[in-house]
Symmetry: C2
Subunit: 298 residues, 2 copies
């Protein structure tokens, strides 16, 4: 099968996302206190893989071939997801949480801007995500997007996962780690995929399918992250490595072994690729993005 060329596609989409994020933050910048704005901008526009917003846009594009275009709504949804992802990184890095001083190769937000402003920048990014989704027009879709994002990001999703992750008495069991990852990483990635389909006015079955893909890719992504953490350097990863092991937190690869972990990740990628075949009869961005989650180097 002639593969889809992911690299140029991804680079183009990352540029597209960067432009959208700068635009959305720019739209409120004259009404935000400068120090707060600076910290929001520092963390939001610092690069990053942009996996979640790229997934939003890719699903909107794939679904819209049948149903008529994600447009502005997909752009808002993509930005909202990345606002939420960025806030979660800022708060996760705080001294009271993971206490990480390095993120994407630069000082963490609280190191660069102080802890108080970092907490507020996170709060502000999370809140602005919903301001973006609550824009005017297309109320049905906007209300559904708001629900998807809140459920994926909140106490029953990402924040719930983070609460499980910081517990001192985390069991070193594969079943616990799978549950943890489903919440901490999987719920937001799943929401991103579903939001793309919703923004493009997909059918309920499109949204369902996007969710299955997102769930599989989310787990594969997290396992790949843990595998990279085992073998990568601080320079390659742009953040501290083997911090979990140092903190006595066994990862999934540590519990089942790197080989079995890799096999599970590959199996989930295959499942994701199969799920989107109805949207992509010839292998395209969605299949390529699924493979990328386990084949990437950082």
């Amino acid at each position: 099968m002639p593969g889809f060329a992911l690299e140029p596609f991804l680079a183009e989409q990352q540029r597209r996302v960067q432009g959208l994020l700068a635009d959305r933050l720019g739209a409120i910048s004259d009404r935000v206190p400068p120090r707060l704005l600076e910290a929001m901008r520092y963390s939001l526009l610092d690069g990053g893989k942009r996996l979640r917003p790229v997934l939003v846009l890719a699903f909107a594009d794939a679904v819209s071939r049948a149903s008529g275009g994600g447009g502005h709504l997909a752009d808002d949804a993509a930005c909202a997801v990345e606002f939420v992802h960025t806030y979660s990184l800022i708060h996760d890095d705080l001294p009271a949480m993971d206490d990480d001083d390095l993120r994407r190769g630069r000082p963490s937000c609280h190191v660069a801007h102080g802890e108080a402003i970092a907490i507020l920048a996170g709060d502000a990014l999370l809140t602005e995500a919903f301001a973006l989704l609550g824009g005017r027009g297309e109320a049905e879709e906007r209300s559904a997007l708001c629900r998807e994002l809140a459920v994926g990001a909140g106490a029953t999703g990402m924040v719930g996962g983070q609460a499980l992750d910081i517990a001192d008495d985390r069991p070193a069991e594969a079943s616990f780690l799978l549950h943890l990852h489903r919440l901490k990483t999987g719920a937001l990635i799943r929401a991103a995929c579903r939001m793309g389909a919703i923004a493009a006015r997909g059918t309920p079955s499109d949204v369902e399918l996007a969710g299955s893909y997102g769930e599989a890719v989310g787990l594969a992504f997290q396992i790949a992250d843990d595998l990279l953490d085992l073998t990568g350097t601080r320079e390659e990863m742009g953040k501290p490595v083997r911090a979990d092991a140092a903190a006595g937190k066994p990862t999934f690869p540590a519990v089942v072994g790197p080989g079995a972990a890799r096999t599970l990740a590959d199996e989930r990628v295959a499942r994701a690729v199969a799920a989107v075949r109805v949207l992509e009869p010839r292998e395209g961005p969605l299949a390529a993005l699924a493979r990328y989650t386990v084949e990437r180097r950082r």
Copy 2:
């Protein structure tokens, strides 16, 4: 003019809000990690004046006489506003922020549950607010409510105000303090009033009027808070008093004098009462709530 009996009304509304909050938190409780849920519950259900949700419900009731009932949507909006208010108190009390160990007469959330879980409980309450607003049905109103709350609570509203408040170089000027209060306290109170009108499907002019009332009441409330802080005890207030002065942060009464501050607060209350006369030809809950903001003892 025979006054409206606020006390029994307020007690009843506070009970109503308490029941709604317990119900909304209960609906997700079996899917939230227990420690996180405990911290959310600790701060959300600990009493408090419930001014903001009571304002949501009062505006929904007042507007619905003309247009047909706030119902479930007003209940969701009331809870969402109190979820956001509670999150803001949890984060404001954190060591890196105001470092307050007492709130509503009990240990602050981070003292009782640890700093990491307190940060996450705040994040979760903020996010769940939008999950409540993103419920099914009534998409027009839900999308507008989402926008109102996010704009009132975010970087151009409450969080922006908090960022101004923690700056070391706050100017000791009345104009700065008025701007600060408009964002930090006023924006969410204004949003609460507007959300009540929106939930009851009020006209644009109802929503506008609710916003004017909220803006005036928000400022009066904050000035009254600062006046109470000057004269109250830690026991009466349930939180540390004169902490701003101790931290070298001049309050509005300190800058313009307590008399002038009180006069301004009274003038704003009068303005709020006048604004809602069209909704309350005979003085009712809205006028009484406006007066309460400056007459309360805690």
